[in-house]
């Protein structure tokens, strides 16, 4: 359900749109406006109550039989409206960010750059505040281009990939599904090696080959990414990390179930991970800013790894054996 502001915004455009298209089809208009038919019918129920005078009966005479839409007293009030500052800003910031995406097809980049110039022109001073917001996407150019090609040609990919959880380079065959960029760029695909859906961060791909074999990903529901790209499963093992003030960043970088404030300004963070042993690296990274309190084996693994690392520095020597 959209809010009153978005609905008003939409209805204002709707009257302009309908003015040019007598007998427009409900299904088509809903698609054009990116809303459900139900939402559109909702709008069409409101519009006949709108006009310049309720008591004078000066209202929009718009009606629908559920399939087509008719406007019987079209007037010239429905002119195309100028872009609001927020509308121009939202569109321009997004368009500039996408145009700066490394690996974007050159043709698309040029089309976007032309579109940006035209929107700036049409928006006039509404476009000014767009200069106050910048978005930079990180995408690794060559890998990106290879995956983009594999996606458009529908081909299987071979990867040598750094598994952060396992701390090693792994080889996989992946049916690519899509590229998602949020800060970093990720490939979402069906990993034939682990027979599961996986997300790969592009800057951790050490080597890539686009294979001749056609891709054949199983039909999957698109994942809901609203909670973040790396969402743990409900039955993944739980890990508890206690951090001091210097380790609060953990709560910003890791999707977690809870973060409880501690009296010293730190946090007790409960999170879940498919591969808890991968969090050994988190304990090592935190140093004196935090420690893993559960499960105890994980805390012990981190301690053992730290002791083994300290062996290298014993007596002020460097030992590589």
């Amino acid at each position: 359900m959209s809010n009153a502001i978005d609905q008003t915004r939409r209805m204002l455009s709707l009257v302009t749109y309908l003015r040019e298209r007598p007998g427009a089809e409900v299904a088509e208009v809903a698609r054009a406006f990116g809303i459900t038919e139900r939402e559109l019918i909702g709008d069409l129920n409101v519009l006949p109550m709108c006009g310049t005078s309720f008591r004078g009966g000066d209202l929009l005479d718009i009606d629908t039989d559920g399939e087509r839409i008719w406007w019987h007293n079209v007037d010239d009030v429905a002119q195309p409206l100028r872009l609001a500052a927020d509308e121009a800003t939202a569109l321009l910031v997004a368009a500039r960010a996408v145009a700066g995406l490394p690996g974007l097809r050159e043709r698309d980049r040029q089309a976007l750059t032309r579109a940006v110039a035209k929107i700036e022109d049409a928006a006039g001073e509404s476009a000014e505040s767009a200069a106050r917001i910048g978005v930079t996407f990180e995408a690794e150019g060559t890998v990106f281009a290879d995956i983009d090609r594999a996606l458009s040609e529908g081909r299987l990919i071979w990867l040598r990939y750094w598994s952060h959880g396992r701390g090693e380079l792994t080889e996989r065959e992946v049916d690519p599904i899509r590229l998602v960029t949020e800060g970093h760029t990720y490939l979402e695909g069906w990993c034939r090696t682990s027979e599961d859906r996986r997300t790969f961060r592009l800057d951790r791909i050490a080597e890539i080959k686009v294979l001749d074999e056609p891709a054949n990903p199983p039909r999957l529901q698109p994942r809901d990414l609203s909670a973040g790209l790396v969402a743990p499963a409900a039955d993944d093992p739980q890990v508890v990390v206690e951090v001091g003030p210097g380790g609060r960043w953990v709560a910003e970088y890791y999707t977690h179930d809870s973060a409880e404030e501690l009296p010293d300004g730190g946090l007790r963070i409960t999170l879940r991970s498919a591969e808890p042993s991968g969090l050994r690296t988190l304990a090592l990274r935190l140093g004196r800013d935090g420690r893993i309190t559960a499960p105890p084996q994980l805390a012990e693994q981190a301690r053992t790894a730290a002791l083994a690392a300290l062996e290298h520095y014993r007596d002020g020597q460097v030992r590589t054996t």
Binding site: A4, T8, L81, R82, L83, A84, E87, V98, D203, A206
Partner: protein, 324 residues
């Protein structure tokens, strides 16, 4: 039942756009049924508050509403002049339109996402040839906006209004109040940052939005300092993230291990069958990056980096007092 807000806003917009002379509040109250109800069943005050809010909402939607003295009854009147509200001629071809459709989808933040689709709807209504079928592209750039501070800061930067908020600095035990003139927002590596003039410190500062606790409150009054033409938030943030390093660290890495570190190496040479020696740019945060790989990494130098990593390892090994 009270008349829905969208219907009321739509009626006000139509009245203001349809008139050639300014309409007074009294006239609008006669025309818009929801105002009539509010006035009859509520009070003059209730109507006034409702009308002021609605006017602000329509302005947010882009409607230019002029205030004029020349209403018939001698009171202040309002109108939305056609020439000031018309979208200028805009000729976008199908390819440009398709590129914009992809761009409009990238916002994950509700208000910006609504504004971007609103922009497309206006363009579509004006005759821009957008494809009817939504093509599901295989490329999905996303601009996040989960931080509650995003929306109020965006508005404040746009309207040049000073703000106050509670801010917890990285590593600080608690939050403290900051008073800031917001200049610009920047999203880098999926996180939002604010650049602005910190009034108490008397100089420019960069804030990470996720570290703002509690509400962002806007303050009356104007900016006291000039807003710089160009604000490079990214350069400041990148420096904290360890980029733009001036020194070089020498480390040994076990063969096959720590790929992300190897990627950053300026030079890599084998030491023996199991180890490589690498030169890595030495900036802020490198100690934590190296400690993460435990026994797969050995720091040769510089000495302060080596001491930092040993110190971190001792803390994890339980050989040092952990400051908690």
């Amino acid at each position: 039942m009270a008349i829905a807000k969208a219907e009321r806003l739509m009626n006000l917009a139509l009245c203001l756009m349809n008139t050639r002379r300014p309409l007074s509040k009294k006239e609008l109250r006669e025309s818009v049924e929801a105002y009539r109800e509010a006035w009859q069943q509520g009070s003059e005050d209730a109507f006034n508050r409702m009308f002021e809010r609605d006017k602000d909402d329509l302005r947010e939607l882009g409607l230019v509403i002029d205030v004029d003295e020349n209403a018939l009854d001698g009171e202040v009147g309002y109108l939305a002049r056609r020439d000031r509200n018309r979208l200028p001629e805009i000729a976008l071809d199908a390819e440009e339109a398709a590129a914009l459709t992809l761009a409009a989808r990238v916002w994950q933040q509700a208000k910006m996402s609504g504004a971007a689709s609103g922009a497309l709807q206006k363009l579509r209504a004006a005759g821009v040839p957008f494809a009817e079928e939504r093509e599901h592209g295989a490329l999905e750039p996303r601009i996040p906006g989960r931080e509650a501070a995003f929306e109020p800061l965006l508005t404040a930067a746009r309207d040049r209004r000073p703000v106050t908020f509670e801010y917890r600095k990285a590593g600080a035990a608690g939050a403290e109040p900051r008073s800031v003139e917001p200049w610009a927002l920047e999203c880098w590596r999926g996180h939002w940052y604010l650049a602005g003039f910190d009034r108490d410190r008397g100089s420019a500062r960069v804030f990470r939005l996720s570290r703002i606790t509690g509400k962002v409150r806007s303050r009356a009054g104007a900016f006291t300092g000039d807003v710089p033409e160009h604000v490079d938030v990214r350069a400041v943030v990148a420096r904290f993230a360890g980029e733009g390093a001036t020194a070089v660290a020498m480390v040994r890495i076990r063969r096959g291990a720590a790929y992300p570190l190897r990627q950053r190496a300026l030079d890599t040479r084998p030491v023996d069958a199991d180890w490589d020696q690498l030169d890595i740019p030495y900036g802020n945060g490198l100690g934590a990056d190296l400690a993460e790989y435990g026994p797969d990494v050995i720091v040769i130098g510089p000495e302060d980096l080596r001491a930092d990593v040993i110190d971190r390892l001792r803390a994890v090994a339980g050989l040092a007092e952990v400051a908690q």
